[in-house]
C-alpha cells in the first residue's frame, strides 16, 4: 500500500505530468538552466570585476609614477598584471621631481626580478620601497601587520606561496616573511615587497652566491620608479607633461589615466554581459511561453477531463503554474550549480583571460547573487505559463468533448 499512500495534490499531479513527459520536461528544465547559468555566471563576473576595480583603485596610492624613458608600458604591466621587469635611473632624480610645482609627496622604489626556479612557479617582481618616504606600500602593510617591517624581512602578495617554515628563498638564501597582503587583483598579488635596505642586502648576498645582474647598470644605488602625489587642486596630467618637458630621460604614468582605461574596458564588458542577460531572459520567457501553450493545446482533452471531474478553473491554472514552477526550480538549481562548477574553480583563469582586475565576492555576496539569479530564472517559468493558465481557465468551448478530438 506504500506505493499508493500519497494524495493527489496539485503538486503531485504536476509532478506526475512532468515525470511522465520526460522530453518536454527536459526541454523546460534545460531552457531555464541555461538562463540560470548565464544569469549567475554573468552576475558573478560583473561583481568580481567591480570588486577588482574597487580594490585596485584603493591600492593605487600614488597619483603618478615616473619611470626611465621607454619603460611606461613595462611599468604598467608590473602594476596591472605583475609581469616582472626592471629598469633603472639615477637616484638624484627624486629631488628634481619633488621640486616640481604641484607635487606634494615623492618616494622612490627599486625593482628586481627573482630567478624563475627558486621560490615560485614564475618570475616574481621584487619591489623595494623607502620606509622613510613611502606612502603607498606601508599603509597597506599596516592593514595586516601592526609592527613596521624590519630590514631583512619580506612582505608578499596574496598569491605568493610561502615555505612551511615561513620563509622564501631568493638568490639561494632564505628570507623570513613578515606578512602576506590581501588580494588586489593587480600585479601586486604576485609581487614581493621589502625595504630598500633589504634589497641592498639581498643584492650583496646574491653577489656572494655568484649571481650577476644583467642590467645596463647595477640596481644598487639606482632606482626604478618615483611615486608622486599631487596637490588636490593641481591637474595630474599637466604636471606629468611638465615633468616630461623638463626631464628628457623619463616617462610618466598617471594613475587616473591607467584606471580610466580599465574602467572603460570593464564598463564595456559589464554592459555587454547585462544586455546579454536581459535578452536571454526575454528569449527564455518567449520560448517557455511557446512550450507551455503548445503543451496546453496538446492537453486540451486532459484539462477538459479534469473540468468534467469537477476541477475549478483555478485548479487547472494552478496545475499548469505549479508544473512550470517545478520545472523552473529544477532548471534554476541545475543552472546555478553548473555555473558554480565553472566560475569557482576557474576564477583565476577567468581573471587572467579577461586581463582585468577580478576578485570574487565573499560568501555573503555569492549568496546574494545565487538568490538574485534563482529568483529571476525561476520566475521565467510561471511567468511564461500565466498566459496558458489564463487561457485554460477562461475558455469553455472545448470542454464539450467530441468524438475524434
Amino acid at each position: 500500500m506504500n506505493k499508493i499512500g500519497y494524495s493527489l495534490s496539485t503538486g503531485r499531479l504536476s509532478w506526475e505530468n512532468l515525470r511522465r513527459k520526460p522530453f518536454r520536461s527536459a526541454c523546460l528544465i534545460i531552457v531555464v538552466s541555461i538562463l540560470a547559468f548565464t544569469l549567475f555566471g554573468g552576475s558573478i563576473l560583473v561583481s568580481s570585476l567591480q570588486n577588482g576595480l574597487t580594490s585596485m583603485t584603493k591600492r593605487f596610492g600614488a597619483d603618478m609614477m615616473v619611470v626611465p624613458a621607454g619603460n611606461a608600458s613595462k611599468a604598467e604591466a608590473v602594476l596591472l598584471r605583475g609581469e616582472p621587469n626592471f629598469f633603472y635611473f639615477d637616484e638624484s632624480l627624486v629631488t628634481r621631481i619633488a621640486q616640481t610645482e604641484g607635487i606634494t609627496q615623492v618616494s622612490a622604489q627599486c625593482f628586481l626580478t627573482s630567478l624563475s626556479t627558486e621560490c615560485c612557479d614564475d618570475l616574481v617582481q621584487l619591489i623595494a620601497f623607502d620606509p622613510a618616504t613611502d606612502f603607498v606600500i606601508q599603509p597597506w602593510i599596516a592593514e595586516v601587520r601592526s609592527a613596521a617591517i624590519a630590514d631583512g624581512q619580506l612582505v608578499v602578495g596574496s598569491r605568493i606561496e610561502i615555505n612551511s617554515d615561513g620563509s622564501i628563498k631568493l638568490f639561494n638564501r632564505n628570507y623570513p616573511v613578515a606578512a602576506q597582503l590581501s588580494r588586489t587583483a593587480a600585479g601586486f598579488d604576485t609581487s614581493i615587497f621589502m625595504t630598500r635596505n633589504t634589497m641592498d642586502l639581498l643584492i650583496d648576498a646574491a653577489h656572494k652566491e655568484g649571481y650577476a645582474f644583467i642590467a645596463d647598470r647595477e640596481p644598487k644605488g639606482s632606482i626604478s620608479a618615483i611615486l608622486a602625489r599631487v596637490d588636490s587642486k593641481a591637474d595630474a596630467e599637466s604636471i606629468a607633461r611638465s615633468i616630461k618637458r623638463n626631464n628628457q630621460n623619463v616617462d610618466v604614468l598617471v594613475s587616473q589615466g591607467i584606471l580610466a582605461g580599465i574602467t572603460g574596458a570593464l564598463q564595456g564588458l559589464v554592459v555587454y554581459i547585462n544586455s546579454f542577460s536581459i535578452i536571454l531572459w526575454v528569449v527564455a520567457v518567449v520560448i517557455l511561453t511557446a512550450v507551455f501553450s503548445g503543451s496546453v493545446n496538446e492537453r486540451k482533452k486532459e484539462f477538459a477531463v479534469l473540468r468534467i471531474l469537477g476541477a475549478t478553473r483555478r485548479k487547472l491554472a494552478l496545475i499548469v503554474l505549479s508544473e512550470s514552477a517545478l520545472a523552473g526550480l529544477a532548471g534554476s538549481l541545475a543552472g546555478i550549480a553548473a555555473a558554480g562548477l565553472v566560475v569557482f574553480p576557474f576564477s583565476t583563469y577567468i581573471g587572467l583571460r579577461l586581463g582585468l582586475p577580478y576578485i570574487q565576492p565573499g560568501f555573503g555576496g555569492v549568496l546574494g547573487l545565487i538568490l538574485f539569479s534563482l529568483v529571476l530564472s525561476f520566475a521565467a517559468g510561471p511567468l511564461a505559463a500565466v498566459y496558458s493558465a489564463m487561457r485554460i481557465g477562461g475558455a469553455e468551448a472545448y470542454f464539450t468533448m467530441r468524438e475524434g478530438e
Binding site: 500500500m1 506505493k3 499508493i4 499512500g5 494524495s7 493527489l8 495534490s9 499531479l13 506526475e16 505530468n17 515525470r19 511522465r20 513527459k21 482533452k301 486532459e302 477538459a304 477531463v305 479534469l306 473540468r307 468534467i308 471531474l309 469537477g310 476541477a311 475549478t312 478553473r313 483555478r314 485548479k315 469553455e396 470542454f399 464539450t400 468533448m401 467530441r402 468524438e403 475524434g404
Partner: protein
C-alpha cells in the same frame, strides 16, 4: 425530482446560419431512474449531456439538479456539484495518461476537500468493475474495455446522485458491451440515477425509460422494465 431539464436549447452557427444542436429538450430523472437516450451521431446527445453537467452554457432553458438551477451557480459551486453529485463518463477515451488506473479513479476524490481513504475506495471500485489487478497500470497499456471500466469506477468514487454516460460502449465488442451494461444495471439498483446516451439500439433494453434524439429534439418516451 433529482434532475429537471426544461426547454434546453443550444444554438450553433453553421455556414453563418444558426442551427440548434439541442432544441427545447424536456427531461426529468428521479433517484432510481435509468434513462437511455438513443440517437444517431450528430443528433445532439453530447451537447445535451454537456449542458446537463453544466460544462456548456445553453442558449436557453434550465437544468435543475437537486433543486438548484446549475447555471445560477458560480464556477466554484458548480465545480463542486459536478465533483460531488454528478458522475460523468465522457465519450471516448478520457483517462489522464500520466496517472495509473488507481490514480485516475481516485482523482475526483481530491478535487474537493474530503476525509477518508481514497485509495481503499478506489481499489474496491476497481474490484467492482472487475479490474483491481490493473490498479497500477497506466492507461496506454489498458484495452478499450478496461479503460471504460476505469472511467466508470472514477465516476463513482464520490458516490454521485446521478451517473451521466456518453456512449459508454461506443467502441466496444458485443460481449464487453453486455458486461458493461449489466454493470450499469447494478449501479442503478444500488440507488444511483443513470442518464445514458447511445447510438446502439441493443443497449437500450437495460434502462427503464428510453428516449430518441433526432436533430436536437428529444421524443418518444418508452417505458420498459
Amino acid at each position: 425530482m433529482l434532475l429537471e431539464i426544461k426547454e434546453l436549447t443550444k444554438e450553433y452557427k453553421r455556414n453563418g446560419a444558426p442551427f440548434s444542436a439541442v432544441k427545447d429538450v424536456r427531461l426529468s430523472l428521479d433517484t432510481r431512474d435509468f434513462v437511455s437516450v438513443i440517437g444517431r451521431s450528430g443528433s445532439g446527445k453530447t451537447t445535451l449531456l454537456s449542458m446537463t453537467a453544466g460544462l456548456l452554457k445553453p442558449t436557453g432553458g434550465s437544468v435543475t439538479l437537486e433543486g438548484r438551477n446549475i447555471f445560477d451557480l458560480k464556477d466554484e459551486e458548480l465545480s463542486f456539484v459536478r465533483n460531488a453529485r454528478v458522475g460523468y463518463i465522457p465519450q471516448g477515451m478520457s483517462l489522464l495518461p500520466n496517472l495509473t488506473a488507481l490514480d485516475n479513479v481516485r482523482l475526483p476524490f481530491y478535487l474537493s476537500k474530503r476525509e477518508g481513504d481514497a485509495a481503499a475506495k478506489a481499489l474496491s471500485l476497481l474490484d467492482q468493475v472487475g479490474i483491481s489487478h490493473l490498479a497500477l497500470i497506466y492507461p496506454k497499456q489498458l484495452s478499450g474495455g478496461e479503460q471504460r471500466r476505469v472511467s466508470i469506477a472514477r465516476a463513482l468514487i464520490n458516490d454521485p446522485a446521478i451517473l451521466i454516460a456518453d456512449e459508454p460502449t461506443g467502441d466496444l465488442d458485443a460481449d464487453t458491451t453486455a458486461e458493461i451494461m449489466k454493470l450499469f444495471g447494478r449501479i442503478a439498483q444500488n440507488g444511483t440515477a443513470i442518464l445514458l446516451v447511445t447510438h446502439e439500439p441493443d443497449t437500450i433494453s437495460y434502462g427503464n425509460r428510453v428516449y430518441v434524439m433526432n436533430a436536437g429534439t428529444l421524443t418518444g418516451k418508452t417505458e420498459t422494465g
